[in-house]
Symmetry: C2
Subunit: 402 residues, 2 copies
């Protein structure tokens, strides 16, 4: 007998038919003699609808009241899913975040889980109940409801798996697993059987929105084996776990991220400490910088370019313009949002030379210009024109996988 | 400075405009220097929609999961109302039943409040916050969410007023107060300035759905002054309190109840203990009996007739048919739902003779036949044909008030 944590996203419980589909998945695993803890998100568009309602009343509503409102979404979905399981004739109990013992930091709308008091969940499992837990929510030390931020239900699931020392944590979603590229765009994309935590983390960061990043980090930290699989098709998914001794795949995927803006500062005075000053300025404003290149410009000057999330582009430009003392009176600040970041990820890179150059060759063959490059141990990213993005993914994928 | 508890029903917060209207009422009272605790129901039809959703999944869902689902309705409305008050620039905090300290019995869907731990509410009032509490809900000793049943928000409000020793408990609704008759049916119905708890209880029982009965009982027990008033019109409402020395009104209202069925048992053997056996049979099935008449029938037999709530009519007939040993093999059991109960209520009756006969005279003048009569110290009720109900109310009202 194993303890399995199963997580179902909002689209998996969007209507009655899907709720019963999920109820069947759960009771099948229960029938196999497993203890089952289920984490559920709010149904379909519920969260977006609640946000819209809140904004129509007060666009500057406090985060505390926002969390109070949004957590009702999961409350409704756990109750409805429990009712469906009752209908199938199984013992079941639904629990809210606070009932399931989720204690979080005080930061509303972006709380972090401090710990889970698992007594109640254990008691319900001892009674042979299927336990349905509301994802995305907890309480802080003031006994106020907090939410974990978007994608927080993945984190809720992994946190329960860690706290309960579960044998497996299954993340059910609307894709069948982790692919070498977006299967809707690249027809010969391949589903991976296994991927390491680090590769998964790089893929998530790079815009392959299969798993929330915090959840993968937590799974890595507590060594929880994840399985990403489809709630709609019965087939095995992708296992995410620590790299084992099996032969490493050269690369595990090609990812595209169009939510990116390039900021260029042209003609900065070439003085020591410039990069430090520019990027600490941005850091103080909570603007995360990704790729950075610094080139030698004309005599006594240089150019600096970097990328930020698209939504942060305007703010980055404003911050720089307001600090002419740092970038000099004559430097020009330019924003370009018609860019995309294409990345390849793979633990095999560490031991295989030439992976980056194979990627560059694929782009050259497709006549796609590279604007910026950055690399890490298991990742190569390039910035290219947004219009070339899908073509670039296909070209790179063919080069490595065909 | 006073402590005022204000309760707003679902129709008072049905849309954004009404939510801001309620927010204005609340902040006006706050501006006058009062401590304000507000109890809110779920918005408009939310509760009915959630019930419908539940039934579409599982018509036999457990009451525990039903309470889990329904309590989300008030959770959304308290958050939205708090956001509106934030928008107006006032300090506010919303609390769920469990956060506000509502401890109830374990009976899901029909829990009774055992006590309210008021620490949190007091702490928030000390911080000068307006406190918005979710009505209708609490938690039981298992830390599970319970609901108080329909109309429970009135009870929540009075319970807080009692626990906090509030100076006034205002029940805002869509009528302007308690009237001598339904003002939509009887044009010259008069709004009462004051009514006693007992009169209010009789009126509530009799189908004048202004206040939930449990809440009036609780207000009487803890001597909480209630004010029933409109959330849509700014005018004083009706005060409900213990009878004072002021001159008693002869009658305080005429009420109509069409939710009633008459059950007749014709030709029962005339044996001692018959009434006891019939009505204890019904009591064991939780069927409440209202008016009872027993007439002498043919030799050695008698007829018994009584009224029950319309929804219990079929069950009452079935119970009786199944216990032929009690009612005899030859008795006939007949159900009639085309009846209405018309009542007059007034503390003044006790000391004034002839009130009942004035009522009967009004009905005679209108040529309306009386089927059954029952009286108490402050009430006279008659059962008549349902088609005559509105005409009867008008006739009686004119007799007493014109």
């Amino acid at each position: 007998m194993s303890l399995i944590v199963q997580k179902f996203g909002g689209s998996s419980v969007a209507d009655n038919e899907r709720i019963f589909n999920v109820a069947n998945i759960i009771t099948r695993a229960y029938n196999q003699g497993n203890d089952i803890v289920v984490v559920v998100s709010a149904q379909g568009d519920t969260t977006d609808e609640l946000i819209e309602k809140a904004v129509s009343i007060n666009p500057n509503a406090s985060r505390r009241e926002m969390d109070m409102l949004l957590s009702a979404g999961e409350q409704m979905s756990v109750a409805l899913l429990a009712m469906a399981i009752e209908k199938l004739g199984y013992p079941v109990v639904s629990l809210l975040g606070w009932q399931a013992g989720f204690e979080t930091t005080s930061t509303y709308s972006a709380a972090r889980i401090k710990r889970i008091r698992t007594d109640r969940i254990k008691k319900e499992l001892d009674k042979k109940n299927i336990v349905i837990v509301a994802g995305f929510q907890g309480i802080n030390r003031f006994d106020d409801i907090t939410t974990l931020g978007r994608g927080g239900s993945d984190t809720s699931a992994v946190a329960i798996a860690a706290a309960m020392k579960a044998d497996l944590c299954q993340i059910y979603t609307d894709v069948e697993g982790v692919y070498t590229a977006d299967p809707r765009k690249v027809p010969n994309a391949v589903k991976l059987e296994v991927i390491s935590y680090d590769e998964m983390l790089e893929l998530a960061t790079l815009g392959a929105q299969v798993l929330n990043n915090r959840s993968v980090e937590m799974a890595k930290k507590y060594d929880i084996e994840l399985e990403v699989l489809s709630s709609l098709k019965q087939s095995s998914g992708t296992i995410v776990k620590e790299n084992t001794n099996m032969e490493k795949m050269l690369i595990s995927g090609v990812a595209k991220d169009c939510n990116v803006a390039r900021i260029s500062i042209i003609g900065v005075p070439d003085r020591p400490g410039l990069a430090f000053k520019v990027f600490s300025l941005l850091a103080r404003k909570d603007i995360n910088v990704d790729i950075i290149i610094q080139s030698v410009g004309r005599e006594g000057e240089k150019d600096i370019a970097f990328t930020v999330a698209a939504g942060k582009g305007d703010e980055a430009v404003r911050v720089l313009e307001e600090h002419r003392a740092v970038i000099g009176e004559t430097a020009r600040v330019i924003k370009d949002e018609d860019v995309a970041k294409i990345s390849i990820v793979g633990a095999g890179m560490e031991s295989h030379a030439g992976v980056a150059s194979t990627m560059f060759e694929a782009l050259y063959d497709a006549q796609i210009n590279i604007q910026m490059i950055t690399t890490s141990e298991i990742k190569v990213s390039v910035l290219i024109d947004k219009d070339d993005a899908d073509r670039a993914v296909s070209a790179i994928h063919s080069k490595f996988f065909d």
